[in-house]
Subunit: 403 residues, 2 copies
Amino acid sequence: MYDLLKPLRIVEASSFVASPSAGLYLAQMGATVIRVDQIGGGPDFNRWPRSDTGASLYWEGLNKGKKSVAVDLGRPEGRALLAALATAPGDDGGLFVTNYPVDGFLSHETLSRRRADLVTVRVMGQANGGPALDYTVNCAVGIPQITGPASLGDHPVNHVLPAWDLLTGAYAAFALLAAERQRRETGRGQEVRIPLSDVGIATIANLGQLAEVLTTGDNRARYGNDVYGAFGRDYVTADGKRLMVMAITPRQWSGLVKALDIDDAVARIEGERDVSFAKDEGARFEHRDALAPLVEAAVATRTSAELGPLFDSLGCCWGPYQTMIEAARDPVLVRDNPVFATIEQASGLTYPVPGAMATIPQATRQPPIRAPRLGEHSDEVLADLLGLSSGAIGRLHDEGVVA
Amino acid sequence: MYDLLKPLRIVEASSFVASPSAGLYLAQMGATVIRVDQIGGGPDFNRWPRSDTGASLYWEGLNKGKKSVAVDLGRPEGRALLAALATAPGDDGGLFVTNYPVDGFLSHETLSRRRADLVTVRVMGQANGGPALDYTVNCAVGIPQITGPASLGDHPVNHVLPAWDLLTGAYAAFALLAAERQRRETGRGQEVRIPLSDVGIATIANLGQLAEVLTTGDNRARYGNDVYGAFGRDYVTADGKRLMVMAITPRQWSGLVKALDIDDAVARIEGERDVSFAKDEGARFEHRDALAPLVEAAVATRTSAELGPLFDSLGCCWGPYQTMIEAARDPVLVRDNPVFATIEQASGLTYPVPGAMATIPQATRQPPIRAPRLGEHSDEVLADLLGLSSGAIGRLHDEGVVA
């Protein structure tokens, strides 16, 4: 938690990964983020992974530090409350993050009639309003077909990390601040729509891959664990540990050659093939048939305990393959990492929880804040933002509009 | 291209994916982004994929719409120019995005002596300053071990999309705007550090997966192309097309059941197993042994031409598995997508190029701008930002400090 965005107040009506993660990033930088959900929880309230007691570890992970308001969105009164919250007055309010349909009761057109300078950031599936999810975008842009070993033939491999959702979420947080900045300069609100499918295909293009297939007329082959166009692959040590070893800069390459004592063999290949590897990662990729076996043999004769410090001392770039539980117990990644603090989460479980993914040396990091219980802040928010009396709020509870 | 960030001026000294993509997103929202590189190009200037003529399609993809200044960073005079540019005066300047080492000549401490309110966003590998890349982070947090079919045993599958780089880049663009916003309120500059490894492990935690392994004491199994905790997998149609079919919301599930006419069979399973699938995606995952064969058989008897419109009409969520070249030629994704325009890129090649990944209905989208040629804006930027005379700039060229 940092306070960079302290004055901002954002209302979030969202579910799944992309839109809630935008709210999470904003909250962890100090904004007040008010998530409004259906009473009983939206479609992501019970998502896996879940605890033994049935609490969604996923939901409480993505909603840390937010406030929660629960209303009945199936009823006009509940919908009106959400619209009123999204458009409540205040120079630093009127900021709305959602993945609700573009033309429904939370359309920007409808909401901006209540507040002309509203900024809406809307995460969408397809640009035309049709549904799309991370995995349906991923297959359509051609990633699963080039993931995994060539031995799989034409059997695609889906990713397990929802990369498109995550990228879309961070980009949505960025877009919200960009639109808010313009509003401060011009007084103008606007809607910024971010379709997952556009994020997918634009990113493929940003990485040069769209131009590659269009200009070559051919798809990239399946290179397994080799990093395309660079020197990088997994290798197994004498003690059976698997390491990812990469060299994309001259320093990383010279460090690797020195660490593994393969100078002579590399020079011989350079002579035979009339090529120089020192500054050209593309050449290292092209000649990996000769280079990788050298590295493989050299790594195989050394233990991971020996290689780690040696690699580190020479500026090599490497990482161990760890299972997720090994990662969770890794002192550098979690236990001793100031990004994490062990707190009691909304589920009642106590475990290490991260704050902002960034670190600001000049500021004091505030501990992460647990996710809210559903509706925990309903009364407080209705009173603060809409000026409702406790009597009025009580009636909304009695009528089942608020919980 | 949109003009939300028009007044901002950002200097970028960076390479590879994360840091340049942050600059790209800022430029596509209207900021002036000045990328400063070593004469002849930084370590990413020739990265693959490359065109027949040797131009990096990757570099020109990630640097669209930026200005380029080339200086000799190996010499004190060149380094001084970069420091002067990063800290040049102007209320909307003093914004610096980099992946240079934390303690080198571009340290925030050094630069902020020239401009106290400087905002530095620094993409790092590890938080301690050690090297890390997308692929070395990915293996360390446990993703490759749960990617791909169970038949691969314990052989990990690296991702091919640099998801951690991309997420870090978007988060860096967000962090820059957050810090700039606070500077406008307080006058204070600061450094925001974003280590790839922290982005990796914090994200695993944000998704609930860290809590999952810590509370269960066990790693998640390898589920192949099944989406964990939801109903989603690849299926093959009667005409041999592979589709990703998902159902995470009640509407998507009821649409799928209706489209495939499997109501009775699903009701029978619900009865036999005493479960209801309508509102519980977790239950659909748990009982996928019974549900997936139903969907598989139903999809296998229908052609893709039949299923696509049917799925769309019923609000189902699906996507075709396409190769990347099919994606590049997909009219919806590229040709007819207003995000793209066909322009001549820096390489001289003409192909479809995306602008901002977001769409703003209230604003006119400006066409994307090609990447600069290396050093294309050196003279203009040195004159504008540093007030150098043409004589002084000429001398810098003669001395080989600027190109």
